[in-house]
């Protein structure tokens, strides 16, 4: 039986490589939808700050496409400016969506920062950078890995969102899958329908499901982790958000979820399994 989720904060980790207004607005949009407070933090990686102390350190500037020497003061100043920018983006987005927010600058490695800040009642929002380079070499891999390792739920925001309206879809491995409960809650809040793609019959979960505003799609066994198959089924519904329980698609399914979010242009919410949820 699915249990009701009680999320409190939408936690948005920002890095100097990921300062995208549209992404912050989208995060605030979801925080408003889920009635969460917003908590933004800027990760100031000590490794980057320390670079300037190396005798040969230099930086390849994206603007101008040229190598420039690094110095401690400039790096510090640019970091500070990036943090201020991040704060401004978060507070403006929260104000625009009329949600409360707070902001911190965390000087730590990305994995440590996520681990120290996130709580089980949080949704950590990870935004996929638009640039492939940033997805590979920036903070994104570290942020995503830390978020997946944390106790919090995770919301993956794709670099391009395909639509602003549509049903809330859940991938459910079993009748009591928490993704079902989360999807129903969000659908009710967003006044959208819910769609459940499940590897079980509706009858086995019918008692816990609402009669109206819900569609149910029975998947063949073993297809829940098949990206192409899932995607072809979801094409019929044109979902706005996909909810899945961590581990429901098997261990190490994070790349699959990232790929699914990116390919469909749909945010993916990964909730904690019931035994660790509230």
């Amino acid at each position: 039986m699915a249990t009701s989720r009680e999320f409190r904060r939408a936690v948005l980790g920002l890095h100097q490589s990921v300062l995208d207004r549209a992404m912050v607005d989208l995060a605030a949009d979801f925080a408003q939808l889920l009635r969460l407070d917003m908590f933004g933090f800027f990760i100031e990686e000590p490794g980057v700050s320390g670079l300037a102390g190396l005798p040969f350190a230099r930086e390849f500037r994206m603007l101008g496409r040229e190598w420039r020497p690094l110095d401690v003061e400039r790096i510090a100043r640019e970091m500070e400016l990036s943090a201020l920018t991040a704060r401004r983006l978060v507070t403006q987005a929260a104000a625009a969506h009329r949600i409360s927010c707070s902001f911190e600058v965390v000087r730590a490695r990305t994995e440590q920062a996520i681990a120290s800040i996130s709580q089980a009642s949080d949704i950590v929002i990870i935004a996929e950078p638009k640039s492939a380079v940033d997805r590979i070499a920036g903070a994104f891999p570290g942020l995503a890995a830390a978020a997946f390792r944390s106790k919090a739920s995770v919301l993956l925001l794709p670099r391009r969102v395909a639509r602003a309206h549509g049903p809330i879809a859940a991938l459910a491995a079993a009748p009591g899958d928490p993704a079902i409960d989360a999807a129903l809650s969000i659908a009710a809040a967003a006044r959208e329908n819910a769609v459940i793609l499940a590897e079980f019959d509706r009858a086995s979960a019918d008692a816990t499901l609402p009669a109206a505003g819900l569609e149910f799609a029975r998947l063949p066994a073993g297809m829940l982790a098949n990206e192409r198959y899932i995607s072809s089924v979801l094409d019929r519904y044109r979902e706005r958000l996909l909810v899945v329980t961590r581990g429901a698609l098997g261990e190490g399914a994070e790349p699959l979820l990232l790929s699914l979010a990116s390919a469909r242009g749909v945010p993916v919410l990964i909730v904690e399994p019931a035994e660790t949820g509230h």
Partner: protein, 814 residues
């Protein structure tokens, strides 16, 4: 010779004119009706055969430059008449084309003009609006389709994959060599690492030099590879944008082609429309971004430009359309002929403090609206508006309408404006004006005849005959009917006809100034209504005439009052030497009245000069001065031919404080001079008007009725003595249409009007002495006026001669 006859023949005594010469009434027998309700109306082209022929010719000839210039008196209702004629003719003519302006996609500042069949422009405008509305719905749907999203996602993924693969390879190589690729706020940097963490500088510096050098070389090699990848990114990005643009255009083409073809189908056969639609198709496909969601990465077209809203460029500006026009050619009348009202204008709107414009803000002028038909203009209005006359001529010469910015013409405009396509011009311009303007233009504007080759000159009057009186009666009936006035009885019509003769200033003519006749009819209708009559009678016409004069006569009354109170000195009885009553006419605000003026003359020996005091003080006009100079000619040719003229004479209009113009007082001035020379008194109970030539013939003048009435009024108010009267040129007798009270006084022998042909007749009447005829000895009789004049002049010559011989050449007395 005529002059010899005049000098040698004795003039017959002048008799006062009989009553039938003073006013020509209408013969009621010529008006066979009781009321105008019985008459078949005749429209306003009575007696205008010449003008009508000109208008028919002007409208019929289809050659450049044969535009019409219609001239005549302002009250002739030329405009109404011509408009009515043209509207009638225009119904039989072809409806002209519609014209629209559309955007020029290659050069937006040069909007394109498209000619369309009559009445179809609004349809084209609606079709284009529908096209855009359809695409606003269809294009977003196409771009939101799964197919598009899939293809678009594939392009993005291909790009991401390309980027990712290149960078992943580098990342893997770096990781294998324990080198971290770090993202800095503004770029990338490489650093040695261990267990995923950057080696602190202090530790690195503690490494053996060889190890440090090796690490640095590794980093340098990886930096080169990083740089290569980074330098390829813009090209990959460009390729991605190109792929997306191609995809967008392919996707858009599906919806655009269908919509554009639908519009083309509606206007098949119109090549210019089809050509424009091809430009629209191309532009729609290239700028499809304005129809689909905003904020698309890198695909937002420029939707803020001088053309205003992003969809404006596809709309149609209907400049002129015949859709609401019943049929035939247009007849357009422009009352306010400014440059912009004539040739159209390009309006601007303020946006963020800047004046901008686009093809939709092109507004038509009268030339556009009248194109293919007729444009009626008042020439005075055109001439008094800056740039309007030259612009009209330019348009007629070029045979096309070019919208010109007045600000640019005078070099003031600094805003961005348009250069719309010229529109071919094919119309007849009809100018209305008075004769003076036409003649001035003809004299001073050599281009007038190039553009206005057809003159339609409206007659002011027609010859009076029983037939013309009857036709005028029908014209009155037409006006009564058109103006919805009460019918008029025969007496009333007769009075109106007689009034028409008075307006014409000629008992043998009838005025065609129908505006004045219409006013009289309207006022008579009013008074009939006041009296509770259903039919307008003669009494109403008389009252209308009298009350109109009364309303306008304040100034006349004040002037007469000044004479009666002897502020202005005018004698109406007795005799005076060198003094006579002259007559002038004052016309103010359309009301004319006569006013007597005292003319005096003083003579003495001199050098033969007649001094016109009015001219000396610059109060006399050139024609008046000419009249005075003629007097010298008269004296020189008639008296003391063997003696140098040794006269000094001064002539003046007494108590005249404003300008004096015209030569109608020259006979009176001559009489006063003869009186002064002959020392013979002149009758003050008579007034004189008429000009004179050097042979002593009295010539016609204007305003004879008003002049007689002006002197009559003074005499009548002082009490008519029975001897009072006015001397008028004999040639003016035909013009007499005197007021009823004057005629009645003459009939009763209390006032008289004398027709004067020569000075001899006039001086005899004024002095009671014979003018004089040279006898066989070549001399005038000694007691005749001329004999006394000649004696006086010889005496002046003798005085001058004696004075000359008493002075040495050096100026000393001998």
């Amino acid at each position: 010779m005529q002059s010899d006859n005049l000098m040698n023949s004795k003039s017959p005594a002048v008799s006062a004119l009989s009553v039938d010469r003073l006013y020509r009434p209408v013969d009621p027998a010529g008006l066979p009706f009781q009321s105008t309700a019985e008459l078949a109306p005749v429209e306003g082209l009575v007696g205008q055969g010449r003008a009508l022929d000109a208008i028919r010719f002007g409208t019929g000839i289809d050659k450049p430059g044969f535009n019409l210039f219609v001239i005549g008196q302002p009250d002739a209702r030329m405009r109404e008449t011509v408009r009515s004629l043209l509207q009638h003719a225009a119904k039989e003519q072809r409806r002209p084309s519609d014209w629209v302006y559309v955007n020029n996609f290659k050069e937006p500042h040069k909007p394109v003009a498209i000619e369309m069949p009559a009445g179809r422009a609004p349809e084209f405008r609606a079709a284009m609006q529908e096209l855009i509305d359809d695409l606003k719905a269809a294009l977003p749907a196409v771009f939101n389709s799964e197919e598009y999203q899939t293809r678009r996602g594939a392009i993005d993924e291909a790009f991401q994959k390309r980027q990712g693969e290149a960078f992943s390879e580098l990342q893997a190589k770096a990781t294998a060599k324990s080198i971290a690729i770090l993202r800095t706020p503004l770029g990338f940097a490489l650093a040695p690492m261990r267990n995923g963490e950057v080696i602190p500088p202090a530790e690195f510096n503690a490494w053996p030099e060889e190890k440090r050098k090796e690490t640095q070389e590794t980093i340098a090699e990886l930096e080169r590879e990083l740089e290569q990848i980074m330098r390829r990114l813009p090209q990959w990005e460009k390729e991605r944008r190109d792929d997306i643009r191609t995809l967008n255009q392919e996707t858009a083409r599906v919806a655009v082609d269908q919509s554009v073809e639908e519009v083309k189908g509606k206007f098949s056969g119109l090549a210019t429309v089809a050509e424009h639609l091809e430009h629209v198709r191309t532009d729609l496909i290239e700028n499809v971004g304005i129809f689909i969601m905003k904020g698309e990465e890198g695909e937002r077209p420029n939707d803020e430009g001088p053309a205003g809203g992003p969809f404006d460029r596809y709309q149609v500006n209907v400049l002129v359309s015949q859709a609401d026009h019943e049929g035939g050619a247009p007849v357009v009348e422009e009352q306010h002929a400014t440059l912009q009202n004539l040739i159209g204008r390009v309006e601007h709107v303020a946006r963020q403090g800047v004046l901008i414009t686009n093809f939709r803000l092109i507004k038509p002028g009268a030339l556009h609206r009248a194109n293919g038909g007729y444009l009626l203009l008042d020439v005075r209005s055109v001439l008094t508006e800056a740039f309007a006359w030259p612009a009209l001529k330019r348009a007629l010469r070029r045979r096309e309408i070019v919208i010109e910015d007045v600000g640019r013409l005078i070099g003031l405009s600094t805003t961005v404006s348009l250069e719309p396509d010229p529109i071919p011009l094919d119309l007849k311009v009809v100018l209305f004006g008075d004769r003076l303007l036409y003649f001035l233009l003809a004299a001073y504007d050599p281009e007038l005849n190039e553009h206005f080759k057809v003159l339609a000159d409206f007659e002011d009057d027609i010859d009076r005959s029983p037939e013309s009186e009857r036709v005028l009666g029908q014209l009155v009936a037409a006006i009564v009917r058109r103006e919805n006035l009460k019918p008029m009885d025969r007496d009333a019509v007769a009075l109106v006809i007689e009034r028409a003769a008075r307006i014409a200033g000629h008992s043998g003519k009838l005025s065609l100034l129908t505006e004045q006749i219409r006013d009289l009819l309207a006022e008579a209708d009013f008074w009939a209504g006041q009296a509770g009559r259903a039919t307008v009678t003669g009494a109403d016409v008389r009252q209308a005439t009298d009350r109109k004069i009364e309303r306008a006569s304040r100034l006349r009354d004040r002037m007469q009052e000044m004479i009666l109170q002897k502020v202005a000195l005018i004698d109406t009885a007795g005799e005076r030497i060198g003094q006579l009553n002259g007559l002038s006419v004052i016309e103010l605000g359309g009301f004319a009245f006569g006013r007597p003026s005292r003319i005096t003359c003083q003579v003495r020996p001199g050098t033969g000069k007649v001094v016109d005091i009015e001219r000396e003080v610059e109060l006399g006009g050139p024609i008046h001065s000419k009249g005075v100079l003629i007097l010298s000619g008269f004296l020189a040719g008639r008296f003391a031919l063997d003696t140098p003229m040794s006269l000094y004479a001064s002539l003046v209009f007494e108590q005249s404080y404003s300008g004096v113009e015209g030569d109608s007082a020259s006979s009176a001035e001559l009489y006063t001079m003869l009186s002064a020379l002959a020392d013979a008194p002149l009758r003050q109970d008579l007034a004189v008007t008429g000009s004179v030539n050097q042979h002593g013939e009295v010539q016609a003048i204007g305003g004879v009725n008003e002049k007689i009435e002006g002197f009559f009024d003074i005499c009548e108010k002082r009490g008519l003595t029975g001897t009072q009267g006015v001397l008028i040129p004999e040639a003016n007798v035909q013009h007499l249409m005197l007021r009823n009270d004057v005629v009645e006084a003459c009939a009763a022998g209390r006032f008289a009007v004398y027709p004067i042909a020569t000075i001899d007749q006039g001086i005899a009447l004024l002095t009671g002495r014979e003018a004089g005829v040279r006898g066989a000895d070549g001399r005038y009789p000694g007691d005749s006026i001329y004999g006394r004049v000649e004696d006086r002049l010889r005496a002046f010559a003798a005085v001058r001669r004696s004075f000359a011989t008493s002075v040495t050449p050096e100026g000393n007395k001998s």
